[in-house]
């Protein structure tokens, strides 16, 4: 059980980069961008194909990031210059990317087993400097000996990478260009009247969002040991689930807080799914259904909670009102009594 949770935590932190990308398009730009389902695979496909053909895995990962950026930009161009509805331009790009991804890979699945990837080189490094035995020593000492992960290097490397991206995103959204992108999602008319080209901000925002998504896809492929043309199905919903869960649990007071919440949401989502799949009658194929249920719950619950709070508040008010209105009633009774005695 702890091994499973550990694995969920590890992949959660990689998926968190994708969730940050979804946060950028869905929340910051207010653009429901379905390109994600395609660009996630594009990232995986580009890096897997390059790694198999002998390119340095770190360079391959960077190329994947650029490929995602381009895909996002095209969606942005479709929406701004082509004036296609936001949802539709994302769906069009997603469908187009399916074929493009197949072309990139040449087949529907590229295995990366027994190949050096960014992930394996990180675990090699951590092995060499003795980090693994150090952490394993600690955990054996506190009695978790059997549940040890294969390596600590990946986890620490991924935490560093994810938080570096979070930090850069926070900083970027505070720059002059970042402010213009945020305002584009908030009030397009206003930011246009302050000389920002909203076409450019939409395209740039979607590009950056999908660059993160593709980067995450590339790392997931390297961690899992394969790239598959179907690995992106439902990715936008997973991203949304992470964003919504994170925001609900950790709050959205500032940008830095929200991005942290999104990372937390991504990890919690992974852990919830992992635990859900351990229930006997559920099968791995049910994962998408579970995801959909989680998102539906996360979307409905806040409203439900608010409504019940409001109901309680009204009930309380009503009770107070009853007490207040009882006082004059009593007096009226007195008055009646008075009249009676008079007559």
């Amino acid at each position: 059980m702890p091994t499973a949770v550990f694995g969920a935590f590890e992949s959660g932190i990689i998926y968190a980069i994708m969730a940050l990308g979804v946060y950028l398009s869905f929340r910051v730009l207010d653009f429901p961008d379905l390109t994600v389902d395609g660009s996630f695979v594009t990232g995986a496909a580009v890096s897997a194909t390059m790694i198999v053909s002998g390119v340095n895995p770190f360079i391959a990962t960077l190329v994947a990031l650029v490929a995602g950026f381009i895909a996002g930009c095209i969606t942005g161009v479709l929406h701004t210059f082509g004036k296609i509805n936001a949802l539709l331009s994302g769906i069009l790009m997603m469908i187009a990317l399916y074929s493009i991804n197949l072309r990139i890979m040449g087949k529907s699945n590229v295995p990366l087993l027994n190949t050096d990837t960014a992930i394996t080189s990180m675990s090699d490094v951590s092995n060499k400097i003795g980090m693994d035995s150090f952490f394993n020593g600690i955990f054996s000492a506190i009695g978790l000996g059997e549940s040890l992960p294969r390596t600590w290097g990946i986890l620490i490397f991924m935490i560093v990478v994810t938080f570096a991206i979070k930090f850069l995103t926070d900083k970027f959204l505070q720059t002059e260009i970042g402010l213009a992108i945020r305002a584009t999602g908030d009030n397009k008319r206003m930011i246009r009247s302050f000389s920002a080209n909203t076409n450019v901000t939409v395209i740039l925002g979607l590009g950056l969002s999908n660059a993160m998504v593709a980067f995450s896809g590339s790392l997931i492929a390297q961690q899992g040991g394969f790239a598959d043309v179907g690995m992106g199905i439902g990715m936008i919903i997973i991203g949304l689930a992470s964003v919504i869960i994170g925001e609900a649990l950790f709050g959205t007071k500032t940008i830095a807080r929200t991005t942290l919440a999104v990372i937390g949401g991504a990890i919690i989502y992974r852990i919830v799914v992992t635990l859900a799949l351990r229930v006997d009658f559920l099968e791995p194929g049910d994962m998408k259904l579970i995801t959909a249920m989680i998102v539906i719950l996360a979307l409905i619950m806040p409203k439900f909670i608010d409504a019940s709070k409001e109901k309680k508040r009204k009930a309380r008010r009503k009770a107070e009102h009853m007490i207040v209105s009882q006082i004059p009633t009593d007096r009226k009774g007195d008055a009646d009594a008075g009249i009676k005695t008079d007559s």
Binding site: A180, R182, A183, T198
Partner: protein, 264 residues
Amino acid sequence: MLELKQIHKVFNEGTPDEKIALDRINLTLNAGDFVTVIGSNGAGKSTLMNMISGVMTPDVGTVSIDGQNVTSISEYKRAKLIGRVFQDPMAGTAPSMTIEENLAMAYSRNKSRSLRKGVTKKRKEYFQEVLSTLHLGLENRLTAKVGLLSGGERQALSLLMATFTEPSILLLDEHTAALDPSRAELITNLTKEIVEKFNLTTLMVTHNMQQALDLGNRLIMMDNGQIILEVDEGQKGNLTIEQLLYEFQRIRGAKMANDRALLS
């Protein structure tokens, strides 16, 4: 300085709904002019504003700002020269961003945006200084989200954001119409103060006759896409609402009589 030459705009041309929104409008605002625009609904006031700001382009005619022909320049580029305040208090600010972030975006209006930090320490001090001129205490609430402000406060902030970079032209589109009378008065006074301070060339659309008479050095009245009355600096001081209404009836009545003569 703003110059409109022979601006003509037709909506729904060739359909039964065809409407001449602007009929060969000529208008020149010299530097420092403050012109108030009045007229009934559908007179073409908003269309005129949209022509100047670049939201729409005229069918015929040219728009020049500071001697530069901007007729075919897109809205966002033109915005470097034009400050705008809208009727809706929600329209001029970004609600989920803070006061200082909103000001930072307005501050970048006539500069190119880069990867520099939007809100720096130095700018913060400057923002506090300009906010204090509003006397609303907003200078102590720099990190409050704009969505939490009242309509009057938001409109005051919009006005400040539109003006503190000293644009060549200031366009006010019924910017007090959605406020209660006391807030409207506050914004009217602020407008007067700010326009005088920066000596801004201003065009203000209003439905409030008194406001049109109180503010500015010139007044124009529009009807059916035409400027039907121009009151210059000298005459505007003595004008009353009654006179304005009388003039409106007279000119319009004469025109209707003419139309009737034509049709009969």
